[in-house]
Subunit: 262 residues, 2 copies
Amino acid sequence: MELEEAKKLLEKALEEKQLCVVVGRCKVAYIGRAASKLSEGDRLLVVKHDGTFLVHQSTKMAAINYQGPGSKTSCELEHDANNLQEKKPVALVVTAKRTLPNGALEKIDCRFYKVYAVNCYSLQDDEKLQLFGTERQLSDLLMQDLQLIEKGLIPLRQESDLRKGSVDILAEDAQKKIVAIELKRREAGLDAVTQLARYVKELSQRKNQTIRGILCAPHITENALKMLEKEGLEYYKLDYEIANPSAKIRGLEKKQQTLSQF
Amino acid sequence: MELEEAKKLLEKALEEKQLCVVVGRCKVAYIGRAASKLSEGDRLLVVKHDGTFLVHQSTKMAAINYQGPGSKTSCELEHDANNLQEKKPVALVVTAKRTLPNGALEKIDCRFYKVYAVNCYSLQDDEKLQLFGTERQLSDLLMQDLQLIEKGLIPLRQESDLRKGSVDILAEDAQKKIVAIELKRREAGLDAVTQLARYVKELSQRKNQTIRGILCAPHITENALKMLEKEGLEYYKLDYEIANPSAKIRGLEKKQQTLSQF
DNA sequence: GCGATCAGCGGCACG
DNA sequence: CGTGCCGTTGATCGC
């Protein structure tokens, strides 16, 4: 496709706030929070009406270059500086600009040497994704019956706010000890343990009493478990099933109990 | 476009390992690590030859539903179960399946009631992104002149592996004390502090001596700084510039000139 | 808007 | 493979 034609199509569609899809051979340059260069190759460019700008290669899930909502897209034809007689442009440069929260400018240049297609659409879509099996949903389920984890466990509050971050669930055990429960919907690693440790430490100081900490996850890495035990925290294997459209906790196995409560 | 035609086009292109772009009105259902539903609306579907499957709405950067490389995409026509006389299909169901590392199945159904366009391309692209201003690059620069942070600081090693995670830089100060340096290319929050604290704790126990910990970032949040100080750790403001195609730590150049005078 | 955290995080590097 | 962690993380939610 002629670059001039591509430019016209694209500009009209951008004006009309359509979703634009451009396929062609291009170089990409980015500067902003970081900087990048991508040599010439065939790519897919998607520009959404909210400013979203996505450059995709033919593999991988993630866009190779991108810019989020709020970006302004414009395009310019580029001519051969060494041959100004030639009226045919050398490239179509599609640019997305955006001002970062800190005031700096972020920019992508997508320099098309060939354009295979420009296709634009007005998409009607007011629907929102309904997602099931999130951490929040599991938390809600757990709150309904903390006895699953341990007999005598009474819920105090959910998403209790601490000054630094928040524990998923705060509870009280049969011995009236406060229990902080950190919930993970997937395998827990070192970060999950440090997170729980931080909450427990913070709470202990604030309440001036010993606080139990329970990490609740479907699985835990070896290192994480070691560190957990070293910190005097506990792990409970959380088995759950995702059934569309709801999640169910399958049953909770008690893995370890510290002596700290005695 | 007729659904039958869309199916033929898509199947042929998938067979030929092309990049496929489908635009149409669809419902989306996902089940796998979690589960989701998305009611009828106009969307953009991209299927890459490596199996990548992306459903985009008309806003936001992230795909609303997706599946990574390795997925298998297939499509089927769906007929009205209440009117089997009718030969015209009701929907074109495009499905991506994938086996998760843990052996479970992950699946997206994209049920198109209308297809506005099916466009497929064979893209040639062997280029890789050159990215500048990454944490690793900053680390390399810092290693060249740790004096920037503190006089007398000598580099010991980079990316020193601990059993749990790794410190970006390990150094020795003028008093022969070991210093663990954690580098962040952007604002450091509580997570960065807990990360550094974990490294320092681990190192202290292993080396059986007091270890200094320095968090190096362009900015730090208030809470993070408070916690840092409470933990006896230090913060060094790292100012750097991204210049395409290289990053420079502000002040480093000057320092090098100073050194070259001797 | 800042800040903290989740995410079906993805992707990478290393053991 | 798992494990850990960076990322131009993005997106969400609370303050």
